[in-house]
Structure formats: structure tokens, C-alpha cells
Amino acid sequence: MSKALRTNQAMPFITSAKPMWQSSLFFIILTALCLPFLEFDIALTSPMNELKQMFLGLVQPNFMIDGIMSAFVHTIVFAIQAVVISVVIGFFFAQLYAFQGIRYLMGFLRSIHELFWALILIQLFGLTTLTGVLALVIPFSATFARVFSEIQQETTKLNYHQIKGSHFSRFIYSTLPLAWPRLSSYCRYRLECALRASVVLGFIGLPTIGFQLEGYLKLGHYHEVAALIFLFIGLVLSMRFWVNRFTLPVLFLFSVIWLPPTASTDNTSELSHTEFEESKWQVENLNRFIGDITPAPLKKTANVEDTNSDNIAKPLHELWQWFYSLFETQILPGIGYTLLLGQFAFALSAISGLLLFPILSKHMIKRKYYRNVGHFALTSLRCLPELLLAFIALIILGPSLLPGILAIGIHNGALIAHLVGLHSNELNLRKDTSSAPNTYFFELLPRIYGQFLSFTLYRGETILRETAILGILGIPTLGFFIDSAFEEFRLDRAFLLILVSAFLNIIAEALATRCRKHIHTHKPSRAVSSLTLIRN
């Protein structure tokens, strides 16, 4: 070997993949550091028996379920009303997104999961349509505001600056038409999310199919569970046939007439299987709610009329003690488990996304028939709410972090695989590419990796939000302590814990954004459009 060749070999590689490898390595090390804290106690003695029962349910679903129509209609009504209202509000705030205050407000509103919004709103409006719709509208509007504003920014402004006229005229003649395809495709995806979220609201008592699912799962009636799951998958898969720009206004109109988003529950009395309360919105509810969320030590002070100097230091001390005890026993362990579960779920999503995308890729699987089977499987996994998957995993594996990790990991992995698979089909490979494993590592992986990381980081923000809500199922994340506080009617604690969870999500979002900037992927235009499908 000549000296010149040896010198050249010793030089480092300078590739654009370096930031991607650095980010990946960072997350691998982070996951490895979390490993010692992972507990894998499979508590249930006979998971095989449960699995057998579930399998029997899957092969013999029982569709004769009491109130099934009403549950489905509620699920759809909540989703449609929420999405239509959120689009309008979101679009309005997207135009004001340049203001920092609006950005922070939207960031805060979307950092609280819809389930937590529902738990708060139930205190104000009871188990009503208004609660169901508002619980979705608040975080969805904030998400729409962010995504609409990002789409508008990413859409080329070239035409905008070339046209003369008022801002509004230029907007409707340049930015809006260019952004329209992406805006509408994002709205369609968001309706799918709203249907899922609507199901999840059933787990806390609202009359969607989640309510029935939870009941049948607890009783071990898997024939009915399977029927509900199949119908829900059918509902999501058939969305493109029943949702379009012509049907959506009609559906919205009918849904508002049938179940107006008010706090009155008269129109839901037909739901004999639900425990809907007869409650009406009153101003006293708000006063009572504000009183309830005030920290307990401060409430005591407010009741004491005599306020001498001793009585100022004492409540402050009590407030500190109240906070410290909550911090030690709930906030700290809650954050720990939330982050732990989030990290492993994130890692599993990434791994399963990378492993599963080839089943959709025309470069890996030549026969379209097999790719369609893969597409169906991934869509089915993706359209089931994480909470439901976690519930099923919990029944099989018993209470530990594992069901939560599996549920979130598989759900998000399927979504990432779906988008990466579609992205890989847009690539044109050479005729002389080698066998499948070589194609995967030498052709596909290096080309899709930047996009894959962007997708995964976007999902990372959502994963942390979803992690917190798994607490509802007994996994000791922040959501577990929030749910317990609501059950014990300690709303002051619940409120503080929700704020902590929101703060955690805001930090995660900021970190993910930073990481994406570091990767600085070169995005082809089509890939950018699919990016919009994965946000939140």
C-alpha cells in the first residue's frame, strides 16, 4: 500500500449523515442508561389463558351489543364537532402565531392531554356533550394553530411577495391555495385522531365506544371487545368514503342538531347504560371549581377571618409542606416513571418503525398483494388508541411498565412505519440494486433515515403526552397520580400535577424541536407533506 493511500485511509469520513448518527447514538445511550430502572414483573399467573380467551373472542366476535349504535354515533359526533370547531379556532390562531404570547398559550393548551381536559371539564359541566367536545376542542385547536402556521410558513412565500395588494388578498391568492392540499390532508388525519381520542374519553365515563370497551374488557367479554374493535377499525379505514368536503358540513350539521354541544344532558337520557348525570351549567360550578383547585392550606386561611402576622407565615409554611410532600411522594416518582416509560416507548417506536416499514416498501416486497396485507395490518395497529392497547396488554402481562411500553411503542411504531414506507415508495432506485437485505442497508436506510428521525422526533412529543395518561390504567406515571387525585376529589393536587405534566411536555417539545434542527434534514417536498401527518 502506498503512503498516499495509507494517509487517505486514515482521514475521517465527512458525510451529511453525521448529525443523524450523533442523535441516534444519543438516544441509544439514553435508553441504555434507563435500562437498570426497568422492571419486568409479569404478575399474572396465566397469561396463556387470557390470550386464549382473547383469541376466541377475535375469531368469534359478537356484534349483538346493547346500545352499540348510540355509542358509535356519540364517538363520531364528538370527533366531528371537535374537529370542525377546532379547525376554525386553530386557523384563526395560526394567523396570530407570530405573537410570542399566542405561541406560549397554544403550547400550554396542547401540552395537556384531552383526557385530563375531560377530567377537569367534568367538574364544571358534568358528563355532557359539552365536556366531550370541549375536551377535544381545546388541545386540538392549539395543535391546529401550530401545524397550520408551520404549513403556511413552509409553503413557499415567493408568490406572496410577487403579488401586490393587501395582506388578506395576497394570502388568499398565494399562501392559501399552495397550502390547501396539505391543510386538508392534515385535517383528514386529525379526524382519525379525534375518533381515537373520542374512544379514549369513554374510559372516563363519556358514552363513546370506549365506555363499552372498558366495561367488556373488565368483565373479560372478549367476543364483544373484538366486535367493537373490528367495527372501529372499519370506521377508520372507511373514512375516505364517508368524509369529504361535501359530506363533512352535512355531518357536522346533523351532529349539532342531534347532540348540541351544551351542558344539558336531556338528549342523552336514552343512553340507559351510561351514568350520565342530570347537571346544568351554573356560575356556582365555576366558583366551586376555583375553590376546589386552590391548594388546601390556602383554603384554610381563606376561611379564617382573623389575619394577624402569625397567620401569614403559618399558611406559607403549610403550603410549602403541602407542596413538598406532594413533590416527594407523587411529582418526583410520577415524573421518573413518565420519563422512563416515555424513553422506552420512544425507543420501541423507533425500532419497530425501522423494522416494519419494509412491509410497505415496493423496493423490499415486490408483490402488491403482500404490501396491501402489510398496509392493512399497520393501519389496524395505528388506528387503535394506545389506551386500549395498553389495557389489553395489562390484562395479559399484569401491572408493570411493560404493557405501557408495548402499547405506545407498537402504536407509534406502526404510524412511523406507515409514513416511512410511503416515503420509501417515492424513491427511485437503480435497476442494478442487490438483494433485499443489501437494498435495505445500502439503499433505503441511508436515504430515509433523516426523514425517519424527523417523524420519530415528532412522535416523541406525543409519546410523552400519551405516557402520562396510561396512569389511568394503574401504571404509576403522572397520570396515575392525577387520576387518583380526581378519584379522591383532591382537585388542588390534580391541578398541580396536571401543570407539572404540561410543563414536562413543553420541555420535551422544545428538546425535540432542537434535535430536529440539529439533524437539519434535507427534506424532499413530498416528504414534507407527509410530515404534516405525524405532528401531534
Binding site: 487517505n8 485511509q9 465527512i14 458525510t15 443523524m20 442494478d432 442487490s434 445500502f442 436515504r447
Partner: protein, 226 residues
């Protein structure tokens, strides 16, 4: 090596190649010339399909992997010669002897300094040479190339094509550059509207034949055939 008899190819209802008859023998270097959409690329794709395992393929669309280094892109031409795990190891940490092998070919194409840089950071001309190197590293008897040097300067064009013809026994090129076809190849096939207009040894090609192929262009044919 190739024998086509009455070949007709269609895209949907549109005929792209009609009644093609030609034979390419071992040891020949052939240039296919013609205007855009005359069927050159379709003909090359068809030739590739006839003997995919014997052809070193250099397509017009380089389709290189942007985030991989030039070394890895060139090495990718030899993936099928090795076991998968060997390839994977070489992707993570290149074997010195594989690096040397790639470097020898790169040196012939003035690419040594670019070997460790990812393709997305290189110029159009360098990418085209990497595409050629990726084909050259394959141990095959036939070299098929579609517009391989269109982004190179005149000096490099001739040098590169001569390097290829000296390394491969049989070569078929698609060229827009008639001068290059006349300088570096033994035989020229002229295509127009999917039909062969002429198929001659370079010494027998006439001005009239070339003017028929490029009837819509103002090519200075006088200078070419001096």
C-alpha cells in the same frame, strides 16, 4: 453479446422502438446517438434486461445514495459479490483492502480526494464520475452507459471514455456528443423516432446520416467530419 430481431417496444399505445434489428459482438465499442425521445434510453434498458448479470450498468439518472460517502456508493456496485454480513461490516467500518480497490478506480477518474465525502456534498461532475466508478468496479464483461459524461469538460470526457473502453471488452454508450462518439467508439448507431437510421463503422458515417439524426438541431456537421 446482444442480438435483437424485429424488436418493437411500446409505452401503453405509443410505440417507442419499432422494428429494431441489430447485433453487438464481443469486443465492440458502440455509440448510440439520436435526439431526445428517439428511444435511446429504452434501447439501453432493454439491453440491460437481456443480460442483467453480465452488465456493468451506468444509468443516466445516477440514483446514488446522497448521505453515503463516495466510497460506499462505489462499493455498492459489488454488494452481490459478498455475503450480507461482510457488506454490513464494510458499511460500518470499511475493510482496508476494499478501500484500496475502490481507491484505484477512483484514482483513474480523479476522485480520490472525494472518496470520504458524502455524495450530497459533491458537484454534478463528481457525482457522474462516481456513477461511472460504481459501474466500473463490477467484474462484468459488458459496460452499458447512458450519457455517462454529459457533465464533464471536453478533456475529461475523452479520458474517461478511453479508460472505460480499455477496461471493458464490450461497451455500449448513449451519447449526445457526436464528436465523442466519433473519437472513442468503433461503431455508431443512429436512432430517430424509435427506428434505426444507420448502423455503421465510424469511418463510414456520412454527414447526411448525422444530419438526419439531428435534423432539428443546428449541429455544425462540417467540423465534426473533418
Amino acid at each position: 453479446m446482444f442480438k435483437l430481431e424485429n424488436l418493437n417496444l411500446h409505452y401503453g399505445k405509443k410505440a417507442v422502438l419499432s422494428n429494431i434489428n441489430l447485433e453487438i459482438k464481443e469486443g465492440e465499442s458502440v455509440a448510440v446517438v439520436g435526439e431526445s425521445a428517439s428511444g435511446k434510453t429504452t434501447l439501453m434498458n432493454h439491453l440491460y434486461k437481456l443480460r442483467p448479470n453480465q452488465v456493468a450498468w451506468c444509468p443516466q439518472d445516477e440514483a446514488l445514495v446522497p448521505s453515503l460517502s463516495a466510497f460506499h456508493n462505489i462499493y455498492a456496485g459489488t454488494l452481490s459479490e459478498h455475503r450480507f454480513l461482510y457488506n454490513l461490516r464494510n458499511l460500518i467500518r470499511p475493510y482496508p483492502h476494499e478501500y484500496e480497490k475502490v481507491e484505484r478506480i477512483a484514482a483513474a477518474l480523479d476522485l480520490e480526494s472525494a472518496l470520504k465525502t458524502s455524495v450530497d456534498q459533491l458537484s454534478g461532475g463528481q457525482k457522474q464520475r462516481i456513477n461511472i466508478a460504481r459501474a466500473m468496479i463490477q467484474k462484468h464483461a459488458i459496460f452499458l452507459a447512458d450519457e455517462p459524461v454529459s457533465a464533464q469538460d471536453d478533456f475529461h470526457k475523452v479520458k474517461i471514455i478511453k479508460t472505460i473502453t480499455s477496461s471493458f471488452n464490450t461497451c455500449v454508450f448513449v451519447f449526445h456528443d457526436l464528436d465523442l462518439a466519433l473519437t472513442c467508439c468503433q461503431r455508431i448507431i443512429g436512432l430517430a423516432k424509435g427506428k434505426i437510421l444507420f448502423d455503421e463503422h465510424v469511418s463510414n458515417v456520412t454527414k447526411k446520416q448525422l444530419s438526419l439524426v439531428y435534423s432539428h438541431h443546428n449541429t455544425n456537421l462540417e467540423n465534426l467530419l473533418v
